[in-house]
Every structure is written in C-alpha cells, then in structure tokens.
C-alpha cells in the first residue's frame, strides 16, 4: 500500500520544480529559455501556495495563486517585448553578449 498523498508530496514536487527553474535561469544563455526557467519557478511557488491553502482550509492560498498567474502573464508579455528589442538591437539573444546599454 502506498503512503497517503499529503502535504509533503506537493512540497517535494514544488522543490524539484523550483531547483530546476533555478538551474535553467543560471546556466542558459538564451534569454527565452531563462524566461522558461522563471515560469517554472512561478509554477513551483503556486503549487506551494495551493498546497498550504488546501491543508490550512482557508481561501488565501487560492486567491494568491490567481494573482500570481496574472502577474506571470504580465511579466511574460513585457519580458518578451524586451527580448525582441534586444534582438533588434544586438541581432542575438545570447545573454553573455548583451553587455552594453546601447549599441
């Protein structure tokens, strides 16, 4: 018989997702993949919020995770606009080569 699914299962999954996102942010050179790492971290935070919200019996976790999703959408839109501008200026999105404020 498998152990009962509890709070710790969700916390383990969110810890794995968070550290994978951190790894992507730290090691990738392409700006779009760095953005994917940020999305993984946000999803990990959302799983944590919802898990604690469920086992706390209150609505705060669910409401907060909805706001996190909205902020993630806004962040992705603005960040991709910035990435496209970087590409138009430098002809690359390699973050190691983007080291000046203007061309």
């Amino acid at each position: 018989m498998l152990p009962e699914i509890g709070l710790n299962h969700y916390l383990i999954i969110s810890a794995i997702l968070f550290s994978l996102g951190l790894f992507g942010v730290m090691t990738r050179k392409n700006a779009v993949v760095v953005l994917m790492g940020v999305e993984l971290i946000l999803n990990a935070a959302n799983i944590n919020l919802l898990a604690f919200g469920k086992y706390n019996g209150s609505m705060q976790g669910i409401m907060f995770s909805l706001f996190v999703i909205v902020l993630a959408a806004a962040e992705a839109a603005v960040a991709l606009a910035i990435i496209i501008n970087i590409y138009n200026t430098f002809k690359t999105v390699d973050l190691s080569e983007v080291d000046t404020m203007k061309e």
């Binding site: 009962e4 968070f18 996102g21 790894f23 409401m63 909805l66």
Partner: protein, 172 residues
C-alpha cells in the same frame, strides 16, 4: 481515505510534471524545451485539481498554455534567423549550476522533511471552491483585484508599445 487509483493517478501526473521540467532545462533545442514546457504546465494543472483548486487549474491551462506558451514560441521564432537550421542554445557554468541546483534541492527537502513541523488545520478544502472565489474577489480582495486589472492593462499596453516595429532604422 484515498484509494489506490487516486494515488497512482497522482504519481502519474507528478512524474509527467517532473520529467518534462527536467527536459525543459536540459534540452539543447529551444523548440523541444518550449513543447515540454507544455507538458509541465498540464501536469501542474492536474496537480491543482488534486489540490481541489479546479478554477485555478482551468485558469492555468487558459493563461499558461493558451497565452504564455504561445508568446514564448513566438519569442523563439522571432529571435532566431530562418536560415539557422538548428535552434541550439549554449550552456555555460554547467557544473557550478548543477551543484547549486542539487544543493538548493537538498537543503529545501531536508528542511521540509525533517526540520519543519507544519501545523495542519482540521478542516481541509475538499470540494469545489469556484463560488467562494467569486465571493472573495468581490469582498475581501476587491482592491487587489482592481489594482491587478489596472496593472495587467498597463503591462499589455507597455508590451505592445515596446514591441512596435520601428520603421525608421536607427542610425548606426
């Protein structure tokens, strides 16, 4: 009490989430990363259903899969030359990054599993909460709701302005 089917389905979705997230960060091809991010988002949405947050799960699918993932794919397409056949991305600081990742994971898991003593409430959320979400948004959270609506509005206008195609090329 949970039966075995519930647990097996949970482990199935947990495996999908974790394995595709591993593929997102370790794949060399950006397109493969973007498409395995799709499976990660679906797996996370399924976990939200297990956490009895069905509204958040549907929102996750609509916003992440329908919006953010398409935006990311557009970003990949826009920022690579068509002639460039393979969309490879370089990796730097691989070994230090891997060490920091494993250290972070180890510390978090050690703290969660051995040190932390969560005091769980007696009543858990176990049924659908869509109705309560409506009540909460219109009562307790009405100010954050309006503020975040305005922020989304401003962010989308700002993004559209930033990404506007500049017809007159800047002088080099």
């Amino acid at each position: 009490m949970q039966d075995l089917t519930y647990q097996l389905i949970f482990y199935f979705f947990a495996a999908i989430t974790v394995i595709s997230a591993v593929f997102v960060v370790f794949s060399k091809n950006i397109i493969y990363s973007a498409f395995s991010l799709l499976f990660t988002f679906f797996g996370v949405a399924a976990l939200y259903v297990f956490l009895s947050a069905d509204f958040v799960a549907v929102t996750q699918i609509v916003v992440y899969v329908g919006g953010i993932l398409v935006l990311l794919l557009f970003g990949v397409m826009f920022t690579n030359k068509v002639t460039q056949v393979q969309l490879k991305t370089d990796v730097f600081n691989f070994i230090p990054g891997l060490l920091i990742m494993l250290a972070t994971l180890g510390v978090i898991l050690y703290t969660f599993l051995t040190k932390a003593t969560w005091k769980l409430s007696d009543q858990h959320i176990s049924e659908s909460v869509v109705e309560e979400i409506g009540f909460e948004i219109m009562s307790t959270y009405v100010l954050p709701f309006e503020v975040i609506a305005f922020l989304l509005f401003a962010a989308l206008i700002g993004a559209a302005y930033l990404a506007t195609y500049d017809k007159k090329p800047t002088e080099k």
